[in-house]
């Protein structure tokens, strides 16, 4: 009996997942899309399907992005198909093919690689499916209709300034960088250093990649603290790494300034509890909504009235304004 129930417990979620997947397909299916007309100028007469592709919703940031885009699209009367490419360009390419074959009206995409994504987006364009990029840019213009990103450089500048202020402009610090192959990891690190390197008394004693991962940030921070016991601050390339670093700091029983990037709810609540000192909020929800709005305009009118490259400024979150932050948006900002 125990063996049986063991199987059942594992099978149930599989079944559930299968049903969910089927349901997702079903909901995106619009009975009358057989005409095949999905050219930009087709106006409202074409498909009413909006395909939203993001990295894994494991990360609350992408989850917020997905949810905001899907909600906005539904509000505008679109069916939605939400997919995740897990930062795998191959999987992303297959998903874009799905969107093409389903004759989607538009693709909202947080892409899986600045270079690796170009071909697939071009393929969609050639098939008459416009792509609206959010959060991350690609290394080519004229392929996607819009590239709406948060201004990582500006945000990192904000984070760097706040970190320097918290450190009092001097002392040893360490930096945790993101996945080395990710553009944003580099942009943010440069943004931090654009500010921090101006302070002669601030000394970076360790710089390690924790691959955006919480557990890796924990162990690496612990080791860094061993090597450099006098560290006063740690600046991390995103919030999950900041959380991992902060767990290490707590375990070591030290008072060390930790600053992150993203504005995730977990870090915001940590700020409210006087844990992590600050983070830089990326307006993920806002960007996603902007992209859906512009896609809608493009479907209806054939243009967006916006430049292709748009950047949305980030907002610094610290104990002063943390209360007003919900789901990657600052109330009133």
């Amino acid at each position: 009996m125990r063996k049986l129930s063991g199987i059942r417990r594992v099978l149930l979620p599989i079944g559930a997942a299968a049903v969910l997947a089927l349901a997702a397909c079903g909901s995106g299916d619009d009975g009358g899309s057989g005409t095949g007309s999905a050219s930009p100028s087709a106006g409202g007469g074409g498909s009413k399907l909006m395909v939203i592709i993001t990295p894994s919703p494991d990360n609350v940031f992408f989850k917020a992005e997905q949810d905001a885009a899907a909600a906005q699209a539904k509000q505008l009367g679109y069916e939605t198909l939400v997919l995740s490419h897990d930062d795998d360009p191959t999987k992303q390419s297959q998903e874009i093919d799905t969107a093409i074959s389903r004759k989607a009206a538009a693709i909202i995409l947080d892409n899986a690689g600045a270079d690796a994504s170009v071909a697939a987006i071009q393929r969609a364009k050639d098939a008459g499916v416009p792509t609206f990029l959010i959060d991350r840019e690609i290394n080519k213009t004229g392929v996607a209709v819009a590239q709406i990103v948060s201004n990582n450089a500006q945000g990192a500048g904000l984070g760097g300034q706040e970190f320097a202020k918290l450190m009092g402009g001097k002392g040893e610090y360490a930096e945790l960088t993101g996945k080395p192959t990710d553009t944003n990891a580099g942009v943010r690190s440069q943004g931090y250093h654009g500010v921090l390197d101006q302070y002669a008394d601030m000394k970076m004693v360790a710089q390690q990649s924790a691959n955006w991962d919480q557990a890796e940030a924990l162990t690496k921070t612990q080791t860094i603290l061993q090597a450099h016991p006098n560290i006063k601050g740690i600046i991390a390339g995103n919030d999950t790494m900041a959380l991992g670093a902060f767990a290490a700091v707590q375990a070591a029983g030290k008072k060390i300034i930790v600053v992150g990037f993203d504005g995730s709810p977990d870090v915001v609540s940590s700020i409210l509890k006087d844990g992590i000192k600050a983070t830089v909020l990326q307006p993920a929800s806002k960007i996603a909504e902007m992209a859906v709005d512009q896609a809608d305009a493009y479907v209806k009118t054939g243009k967006t009235d916006q430049p292709e490259k748009q950047s949305v400024d980030c907002v610094l979150v610290n104990p002063d304004n943390a209360k007003s932050v919900t789901n990657f948006a600052v109330a009133g900002a």
Binding site: K3, I7, P13, I14, P57, V60, T219, T223, A247, D266
Partner: protein, 358 residues
């Protein structure tokens, strides 16, 4: 008594010649057998020379704590590999146990009558049971449905990871400290706290390793595990219920994986679905580094623990002296390959020495 008048067989000496210099060969063999220890000593010496912070009491304790997670995973995997199987799902099982335990602590168990919270002890027990259950499914797939271990556990790698993600809809359970009203405080004990100056996680590793050593060397079960991996048909003919042994080792592996996942989660103070992703490879690497043969039947728990120490002390050392991530990968991979090459050399030397003494 014997009425044999057949000519006594000439005392035969094997022609496939043994090593030319047996004394030297024996010394080399000793070195190879203890190679994991040798490598470990070399590593410590090397990093101590570069950084004065490496060989300090606090850093040794910290590195050992980092080793604990992988060592516990690897001990479980060693049981499986000893039977000639493989368990690729341990990282995902650790993640699943983490999400189940994290969910119970953070959101509780939603029942029609309200939300139920459990004490930390119960939560830990449930987490480990989840590991046992997934392990049992692995075992059943492999024995009852005759799925190759590689495939069965590869499938489970995805299934368990996915179930963990479903548990939170992809999100993180950010705060596992519990509240007095819910009576579920204290999860940090296993991952954060220390006892007699040594982290609880390290004590747990010591207990698990000691238990595993006893089981593998001092119980009939352990002997049977080795025999199944050494020659399954011979084990069957000796009346050993091979399928039961196999299911048991996957259950052990699942329990160890779940325990490792819980320690990791406790230390982090948060449960997220990607916990312990790709840790299975580190665990297998530790076992192989420690001299466990992937073909089964050969290996020791002590060797595996040493292997975990080598991997952990190496990667922490590289971080400590500030080597880049890319080089860390290169060095780790090279060490594993080197380990397998020396393993082969040891086998060859051992059998050629054995032939001489036969």
């Amino acid at each position: 008594m014997t009425e044999t008048i057949a000519p006594a067989p000439a005392p035969t000496r094997p022609e496939p010649a043994g090593p030319r210099n047996p004394a030297l060969a024996r010394a080399a063999l000793l070195l190879l057998q203890g190679r994991t220890l040798v490598v470990l000593v070399l590593l410590v010496a090397f990093f101590s020379a570069i950084s004065s912070e490496y060989l300090t009491q606090s850093n040794l304790i910290l590195m050992t704590k980092h080793v604990a997670i992988n060592a516990i995973l690897a001990i479980g995997v060693t049981f499986v590999i000893l039977t000639g199987g493989i368990d690729l799902s341990v990282g995902s099982i650790a993640g699943l146990a983490s999400m189940i335990a994290g969910g119970l602590l953070f959101t509780g168990l939603a029942l029609p009558g309200g939300t139920l919270f459990f004490s930390v002890a119960v939560v830990i027990l449930v987490g480990i049971l989840v590991g046992a259950l997934v392990g049992a499914v692995n075992g059943l797939l492999i024995t009852r449905f005759r799925v190759a271990p590689f495939i069965a556990t590869l499938g489970m790698l995805y299934v368990a990871r996915g179930v963990g993600q479903l548990r939170s809809d992809g999100g993180t359970f950010p705060d596992l400290s519990g509240t007095p009203e819910r009576g579920n405080q204290g999860f940090h004990v296993i991952g954060v706290d220390s006892w007699l100056g040594i982290p609880v996680a390290v004590w747990i590793m010591v207990v698990v390793a000691a238990a595993a050593v006893v089981v593998t060397t001092k119980t009939p079960f352990g002997r049977r595990v080795y025999s199944v991996g050494g020659n399954e048909r011979a084990a069957v003919l000796s009346g050993i219920r091979v399928n039961r042994i196999k299911i048991a080792v996957y259950v052990i592996s699942g329990c160890c994986a779940a325990l490792a996942g819980l320690l990791l989660t406790s230390e982090l103070g948060a449960a997220y679905p990607d916990t312990a992703t790709t840790y299975e490879l580190n665990a297998i690497a530790a076992a192989v580094l420690g001299g466990t043969a992937l073909s089964g039947g050969r290996g020791t728990i002590i060797g595996t623990v040493m292997g975990a120490f080598v991997i952990g002390f190496l990667s922490d050392g590289l971080v400590l002296v500030g080597v880049s991530t890319f080089w860390q990968s290169v060095v780790k991979g090279a060490v594993i390959i080197f380990a397998v090459i020396t393993e082969q050399a040891q086998q060859r030397l051992q059998s050629s020495l054995a032939r001489r003494t036969a």
